[in-house]
Structures are given as structure tokens and as C-alpha cells.
Symmetry: C2
Subunit: 219 residues, 2 copies
DNA sequence: GCCGCCATGTTAGCGCTCCTTACATGAGCT
DNA sequence: AGCTCATGTAAGGAGCGCTAACATGGCGGC
């Protein structure tokens, strides 16, 4: 067959060229197309052009591949969040809303990653890397929460961890319930990004973080 | 065999006694144990004591059974929410927090229903009953939002639909991320119910609904 | 009260997937 | 050059979704 040789641009390949990477990419494509359940080990092998048994040289079983995809997803997710947060520039509130949009954009533009991370039923204990990358992604949210809290007087500061959990929960809730492009779910009067931005504005207002700290504009 | 006859209390049974109900119950048990993916048509048939082909007399395919489970789940969900809301008695805020606890309790105590409803990838278009029961459940949330809004001056009222979506998103986010009993996910410094209650208090505070309209709950 | 119909169940089987075991091959080290 | 081991293939068992053809028995029509 010729497909063994038509990847000469990968110098480190043994037989196939790095099959592991290609399997991950195939898995991403399949999950994105047909959901995390429609993803099939055999079909990923087929897409990579190898026999159905070949993937087992790189992943113990199907779940391990999914866990690997999820871990890579959390890494890309963290990078996206960190880039959007940009150390809170120019000011924490602007950066925070940018962070929210980036969250939803990731869920929307990388449905395969997001599915593997949150909807495929992969336990975070599946691998240490998975747990670590998920923790790093959450730490990004927590940093943003801390920066926002810093503007409050000390006796009014909520716990940063709790605030990060609230942010994550509302973001994930909106992404999971309304963030998908396909028409399977409920039509909205506004975009998911607008919905999240409005929700976060109200939430921050409740904490005393906002355009008018304690007196909403009466007129 | 005796299992054909040991359901004499069901007068309408043909051969088995109402197999359809038993299949739904078996599916609920399996989904609760092994997640929506671990659920198997053949195993549900085995639990009901019939051959693997028998379920196809009652459900076109596996997805239709899942959609049926989801629809029943939404019905039970709506009943739970309506009971918890109790027409906003004794006052809307008390009833609202009771509603939030009921939401999480449902997700926690009926993981099979909740999985089928939100995590199994069942499209709401799978059946008209599913869409209708999901709409009725959401209407319950929306009613609560409207009752809470009613206490605000007219020029400060947010759209009730948006508010209901926020409530749903945060509730679902907390349930999906932190509401499960099994140890696969992240340990929390507080219970999911407390987390949701705190988040909703802050959110309502941001809308101007709360014990003291302009001072956050510092105590 | 008997009979035929049709809903409900059965067995048999196809094609697929997950995963294992045994075998083949070729890259890189010595 | 030759050895070795990682990386691939081939073959097969068990299980599942689903279909087709066949069996059974409850119910309505006569």
C-alpha cells in the first residue's frame, strides 16, 4: 500500500509516522461530527489508515484515548482562557467579559474537545495529566476571580474559590444547554454569549463589582 | 416459566404484563448504574426477562427508549419543581431557594433521569412529548422568575425569560459539574446545594432582590 | 362457544465494535 | 550485518443493534 509512504514529512515515524497523534486527530474529528458516543476506536484506526488493532499499541483501550483527548482539551482550554484573560488587562472587568466570551467560543468552536472534557463521562482520575491539566484550567478562572475581588473592600470579599465555581458553573451551564450550533436544543431570544455576559454582569453587581457599586442607576 | 404469570395485578397485560414499563424501569436502573452510554438495549431486555428482540415491539430503536425515559424524566422533574415552588409560598424568595434545592436534589437522587434528560445527547425533537414535557418543566422555572421579578419596580425588571435561563444555567452547571455523588469529580469546600444557594443569592442581589436591597450578605 | 386476526413474543442471523492473542516487519543500536 | 524490540497485521471471541421469519395467545366477530 502507498499510504505507508505518503507521509515523508514526518521524519520520526517508525512505520506509519506518529500514529498516536493521527489517532487523536481522528478521534477529534469523529467526536466533533457524531458526538462522544459516536466515536469509535475502529473508525479512528480506519481514518488513520491502519488496522483496527493498531491503536492498542498506543492506548490501553478506548477510554484511555478519550482521556488523552480530554487532557489535550484542557490544555488548549487553559491556553485559551489565559490568553483571553491577559493578566486582567486593561482592567479586570473588561478582561473578565473577554474571558467569558472565550469560554463560550471554545465550547462552540471546539465541540470535540469540550465534549471529551465534560460530556464523555471521563473521570478526572483517568490519568494524572488529565487531573493536572483540568486543575490548571480551573486555576485560570480562579485567578480572574481573585483579581476581580481585589477591587472590593476586605470585609465584602467573597471566597475566591466559591466565586470561581460560580463563574464556571454558569459558563458551563450556558455552554451545555444553549451553546451548541446544531438545532437540537432550545431557541434563544439572545446569543449564548450575550446571555452569559448579562448573567455575569448581574452576578458581579450582586457582589458589588460593577459600574455603580451600591446604587443602581435610578433613571 | 412463572414470571409470565406473577403479575396478575396488571389486567391489561398480553403475554408478559406491561413490558414497556418494565423496560423503562430497567433502563433507568442501568443508566443510573453505568451512565447513559453503559445502557444497553439487550441488557434491559435481559433484566425484564425477555429475549433481546422483544424491546423492538415497543420502541423503534434504542434512542426512542432513551427519549421516552427523558420525557418521563422531564415530567417527574416538572412535578418536583412545581411542588417545591408551591406557588411561591410563603414568599417568593423562600420558595425560590426551596426550588433550587429541589433542582439539585432531583439531579442527585435521580441521576438516571437527569442523565437521559441532559447528558445522553437526546435531541428534544426526538418526540413531541419530549419537547412538550421539557417546555413545561422550563415554564416552572420561568414562573418562579416572574414571581421574583414582580417585587421590583417596573423600570428595573429584567426579562423573565432571560432570568429563567440564568437560573437554569447555573443550576445545571452546578449539578453537572459538582452534583454527582460518585468521586469522579472535584472535591468542594461546600455542598452543591450551598454553592447554588450562595450563587443565587448573589445573582438576586445583583437584580435588587434580596434581604437588604443595597448591602451584600456579609454575615 | 368457536375462529381468525394481530399484538406480542421467540429464534436465527448479519454486520459491526471492543479487545485479546499470536505473528510479521523494519528502525536503530552495537 | 545481525539482534531486538517497538510497531504494525491477521484472526477470532464475545457482545450489541437491528432485522426477518416464525410461534403464541388474547380479543373481537360470528
Amino acid at each position: 500500500m502507498s499510504w505507508k509512504r505518503d507521509r515523508p514529512e514526518h521524519p520520526r515515524g517508525y512505520h506509519h509516522g506518529n500514529l498516536k497523534e493521527e489517532l487523536v486527530r481522528a478521534a477529534l474529528g469523529l467526536i466533533g461530527e457524531k458526538g462522544p458516543n459516536g466515536f469509535t476506536f475502529a473508525e479512528a484506526a480506519r481514518l488513520a489508515g491502519v488496522s483496527p488493532a493498531a491503536p492498542y499499541r498506543h492506548f490501553r483501550d478506548r477510554d484511555e484515548l478519550l482521556a488523552d483527548v480530554a487532557a489535550r482539551g484542557f490544555q488548549a482550554f487553559e491556553a485559551t482562557l489565559v490568553r483571553a484573560w491577559d493578566q486582567g488587562r486593561p482592567d479586570p472587568e473588561t478582561a473578565f467579559h473577554r474571558l467569558g466570551r472565550a469560554y463560550l467560543a471554545f465550547a462552540h468552536d471546539e465541540p470535540a474537545y469540550y465534549s471529551a472534557m465534560f460530556e464523555a463521562g471521563v473521570s478526572l482520575d483517568a490519568s494524572p495529566e488529565l487531573r493536572a491539566s483540568a486543575d490548571r484550567a480551573f486555576a485560570g478562572l480562579r485567578q480572574a476571580a481573585e483579581a476581580l475581588i481585589a477591587g472590593l473592600p476586605q470585609n465584602k470579599r467573597p471566597p475566591a474559590l466559591m466565586m470561581a465555581l460560580h463563574i464556571w458553573a454558569m459558563s458551563h451551564g450556558i455552554a451545555a444547554l444553549f451553546g451548541r450550533a446544531d438545532g437540537g436544543r432550545r431557541p434563544l431570544p439572545m446569543s449564548a454569549a450575550e446571555l452569559l455576559e448579562a448573567g455575569m454582569l448581574i452576578y458581579l453587581q450582586g457582589l458589588g463589582i460593577g459600574p455603580e457599586t451600591a446604587s443602581p442607576p435610578a433613571g
